[in-house]
């Protein structure tokens, strides 16, 4: 009797866990190409997640070491993970964001609270790439014009001095 009760309990737990089987994610990310007027660089990743068993689990993302909940659009179709970095901190390259479901999140939180290295495999991972952005011209055209006119003046003056010498 106890064995059958235990089996039923395990079965119920399995049903209520809501784990996502064979997750498929399609993501699109955005980082600005021109950051001249910006005070911080945004990194935005929008994605849709499809589970084999039709589950819609609550997701958590590891953004820069902190675990944050993932927001969903009002119609529930798209999710979004986003953060901003100041112009000095933003580095070129790809940032991988692991996504965890509720179980993975609690396991990771517990491991991090204890201070030990966590080896929780994420549900999926999405990649946000930042190839750098245009932050203004290297040198201003007026500085270049000044340098060029100084060069022309120097050439003319030196050749004149040579002639008169």
């Amino acid at each position: 009797l106890t064995f059958s009760v235990a089996l039923v309990v395990c079965g119920l737990v399995g049903l209520s866990a809501g784990t996502c089987t064979s997750p498929k994610v399609s993501a699109s990310s955005y980082t600005p190409a021109d950051s001249q007027v910006l005070a911080a660089i945004p990194f935005i990743a929008e994605f849709t997640l499809e589970c084999g068993n039709g589950e819609k689990p609550a997701l958590y993302a590891d953004v820069g070491g902190a675990l944050v909940p993932v927001s969903t659009s009002m119609d529930g179709a798209k999710h979004q993970v986003s953060w901003v970095k100041t112009l000095k901190e933003a580095a070129k390259g790809d940032v991988t964001v692991p996504l965890y479901d509720a179980d993975g999140y609690t396991q990771l939180r517990r491991a991090r609270d204890k201070g030990e290295e966590a080896t929780v495999t994420p549900l999926v991972s999405i990649v946000v790439s930042y190839p750098g952005s245009y932050s203004g011209p290297l040198f201003n055209s007026e500085h270049f014009a000044l340098f060029l006119s100084a060069l022309v003046f120097y050439l003319a003056f030196s050749s004149k001095s040579k002639l008169l010498a």
């Binding site: 909940p69 009002m74 986003s82 901003v84 007026e142």
Partner: protein, 186 residues
């Protein structure tokens, strides 16, 4: 009499603590721009903080401040929901919009609605911080000040060529004539 007074006092005390254990969500809306320019990105960041004692559930954030005819949403969602925000937890959402018009624009507050405790049917609402009024500069004025102007300087160089070139040509022609005369003499 004394017992009655004590009872009333306990009742009052309990009433004061009735709302302990409710979630309280604060929403901050920040614009991360040096300048606001027509046709260039505006980075809007919404930060949610739960300063209450229990988790907030069924959070919904709506920002109707960026109308579709005035702004293009480049990336991100202006209306989003969150299942659960634990106490003392925070999260953020970033949206990039591009203004279609220039002029004075009043950045209004976004609204957040959530349930104070798990399974509660009471919906609490709040407003975000108000970034206030900003000036969206016309693209033409921005280019006048900040573009590289290389074409303008190239045109200037071409225009200075006559005033430099004509005296040089005159001197060179007379110099070569004089040297030719000298050679002829020898």
């Amino acid at each position: 009499m004394l017992r009655f007074v004590i009872l009333v006092f306990c009742g009052l005390f309990c009433q004061l603590n009735a709302d302990e254990g409710s979630a309280r969500v604060l929403l901050a809306k920040q614009i991360h721009n040096k300048y606001l320019v027509e046709g260039m990105d505006i980075v809007v960041k919404y930060s949610l903080f739960n300063v209450g004692d229990s988790a907030a559930t069924n959070l919904q954030v709506v920002d109707n401040g960026f109308r579709a005819e005035d702004f293009d949403v480049v990336s991100g969602q202006l209306q989003f929901k969150l299942d659960r925000l634990a106490p003392s937890a925070n999260t953020s959402q970033t949206v990039v919009v591009r203004p279609r018009k220039f002029g004075y624009f009043n950045f209004t507050a976004a609204e957040v609605s959530y349930s104070g405790s798990e399974g509660s049917s009471v919906v609490l609402t709040g407003l975000s911080s108000d970034p206030g009024q900003g000036v969206i500069i016309a693209a033409r004025d921005y280019d006048k000040q900040f573009s590289s102007h290389f074409l303008d300087w190239a045109a200037f160089a071409v225009m200075t060529l006559p005033s430099l070139g004509i005296p040089f040509v005159l001197w060179y022609s007379s110099k070569s004539k004089y040297e030719a005369l000298l050679l002829k003499k020898d």
